[in-house]
């Protein structure tokens, strides 16, 4: 029915949405008395102008790839997982326990074990909302939000009462042992003779994230499970007709989603902080929603959108350092991206579709077809 070509749907529309979000953010910056163009140049310089900036941008992007994939996988089953924040929090606990309790010989083994543990903890945190959605029809949006709050309280209890070293004041675990420290992106690139700033948080997890993208691509578009997830997401009655078990698909899909969100912890907890700090997810779980919407729930789109939000996060930090524009600008941009790509999509889409329709009519005259 639509005359809009596919390329426009996946590139033109997100681009217009993004421009709208940027223009409005620019107006906000103007309103608080700063120069938006200068702000933009500070952000670009700070996030992309040096390998140091890139080190941070890529670090943030790694987080967002995981949480973006998490939201996207659930989207394919028409499930809206707002629980990435809580699942990543639990993933952090999984990483901390693995790193603190077991003496690892080498970071490679530790990374593998921590990945499994992070995914398992994240998946575990999504089971109850998934089960309640599938079996009792409790809205997963609300339950996952509640589980974010519960996760924060749980981690608070575990860290403060159980994992905090004696005498320490700040709510955090002890530093992880040396053998679990992951090589930074600088270390890796330098060993290949590529110059890259040391001391930035981007680390080997970036490659794990990219591998996760490839795996998610194959999962969703090339496996039977992915086929069933997509079918279920498009039409539940049809899925039941085809013999796809809705409870099974909901739970499996949410566990994969929660697992991906949990795996973010190998980046921020194991790769960056090297200990578990309360509140270390810092909203990355929510940014995953914007990333998945903008990236059209496709791994390639998610990588690009994650880079964009990585840039915004690092650029925003630089901005708050050098100007009076605070980091919360990123939250505003994130909100606007979610609004335009997710909720106000029709506002942008309808006029674009009309343009394409007019173009196709000019070419071929009126198209006739069956009505009703």
């Amino acid at each position: 029915m639509t005359a809009m070509p596919k390329w426009a749907d996946i590139t033109l529309i997100p681009l217009i949405n993004l421009i709208l979000a940027f223009v409005i953010s620019g107006l906000v910056i103007l309103a608080i008395g700063e120069d938006p163009l200068e702000a933009l140049s500070v952000m670009i310089e700070g996030a992309l102008g040096s390998s140091y900036g890139w080190g941070y941008t890529l670090y943030y992007a790694t987080n967002f790839i995981f949480t973006g994939l998490a939201v996207a996988v659930a989207f394919h089953a028409s499930l809206f997982n707002i629980g990435g924040e809580g699942q990543a929090t639990l993933g952090g606990l999984g990483v901390a326990l693995i790193c603190l309790l077991i003496p690892w010989p080498h970071w490679t083994v530790a990374l593998m074990a921590a990945s499994v543990s992070a995914a398992a903890f994240g998946a575990f945190w999504s089971i109850i909302p998934a089960y309640l959605q599938a079996k009792r029809g409790s809205h997963i949006v609300i339950t996952t939000i509640m589980f974010n709050f519960i996760a924060a309280a749980l981690l608070n209890y575990v860290i403060v009462n159980m994992l905090r070293p004696k005498g320490a004041m700040d709510p955090a675990t002890a530093k992880f042992p040396e053998a679990t420290h992951l090589p930074s992106l600088g270390d890796i690139l330098n060993s290949f003779g590529i110059p890259f700033a040391k001391g930035t948080p981007a680390n080997v997890t970036l490659f794990v994230a990219l591998a996760a993208c490839v795996l998610v691509y194959f999962l969703i578009w090339r496996t039977r499970l992915g086929y069933q997830i997509r079918a279920f997401g498009k039409s539940q009655p049809a899925a039941i007709y085809a013999g796809i078990n809705p409870v099974r698909i909901t739970i499996i899909c949410m566990m994969i989603s929660g697992g991906l969100a949990g795996m973010m912890a190998i980046n921020n907890v194991m790769g960056e902080a090297e200990r578990l700090i309360l509140g270390s997810v810092e909203g990355a779980g929510f940014i995953g929603i914007a990333v998945a919407l903008m990236g059209r729930s496709h791994p390639v789109g998610i990588v690009l959108a994650a880079l964009l939000f990585g840039f915004l996060s690092q650029g925003g930090a630089e901005l708050s350092l050098w100007t009076s524009v605070p980091r919360e600008l990123v939250t505003v941009i994130q909100a606007l991206v979610i609004l335009f790509t997710g909720a106000l999509d029709g506002m942008v889409r309808a006029p674009v579709e009309r343009v394409f329709l007019a173009l196709s009519r000019d070419k071929s005259g009126t198209v006739r077809g069956p009505a009703e």
Binding site: L154, Y157, E328, V330, A335, A343, G346
Partner: protein
Amino acid sequence: MDFLTILQILDSALRLATPLLFACLAGLFSERAGIFDIGLEGKMLGAAFFSAATAFTTGSVWLGLLAGIAASMVLSGIHGLASITFKGNQLISGVAINFLASGLTVLIGLSWFKLGGQTPALQGNARFSGIDLPFAEALSNVPVIGPIYAEVLSGHTFLVYLALLAVPLSWYVLFRTRFGLRLRAVGENPAAVDTAGVSVVHLRYAAIAIAGVLCGLAGAYLSTGLGASFVREMTAGRGFIALAALIFAKWRPWYALYATFLFGLLEAVSNRYPSLDLGAFTLPSQFMQALPYILTVVILAGFVGKAIPPRAGGQPYVKER
């Protein structure tokens, strides 16, 4: 626990229930008209900021209240635009509104007051003060009833009494007026309303506007009645608890009162006893903080009776071909 402590907890519960009640009724009007509203949290937050900021700047809490309502209405308008006019996803729109409010309140607050996102403390006419109900003093010596009247019911701010009044008012509007009939119909079957020659769009915008006003009252109460300044993220999930209360209340005004009072009571108890000593073991403070959310999940799981939401909830109205 003596009688006075119980009275103090009940008094505190009533205060804490008030923002929940306003927000819950806001959700009730919105969802009865078929519009899901997870943006209650954001609207409250926006209202809380703008009422505190305006009240501080002008020195008038009433102007603050109006500004809070206006801020909440603007966010409601965005939600309406997304979910009614452009037929977008109501859940996503709500999420966006929550982030928008969360980011903008800090952004504007920082540049306005330079206090790390807070507003300065409100004093005098810039905040709501308690109203002593008539005869509170005189009756306070009457056993049982007297102290309940004087300690629990009397001495609250105007907004607390307005919230209590909003309950029967909402009931009357929904179930005894033409507008209420149409509003409930549009949440059940918008096509029936449309073919009866009534505009679905107008009705839904009206519902959303009412929700905006009520959320504005909820937010204004938080920063100018319950508290005396705006603090970052001061809603702290109350919008979601109100949503849970709405489900608990099965979308009915009187039940909304009971449900929000229960949650208010829970918060009052956990404020009073950060870690609750139950003899055999002690409930840690973190558990008490998480309790409303845990309870909400239990309610959502449907173990406390099945709640049937309005049938057209969450779906944008598209004319059938």
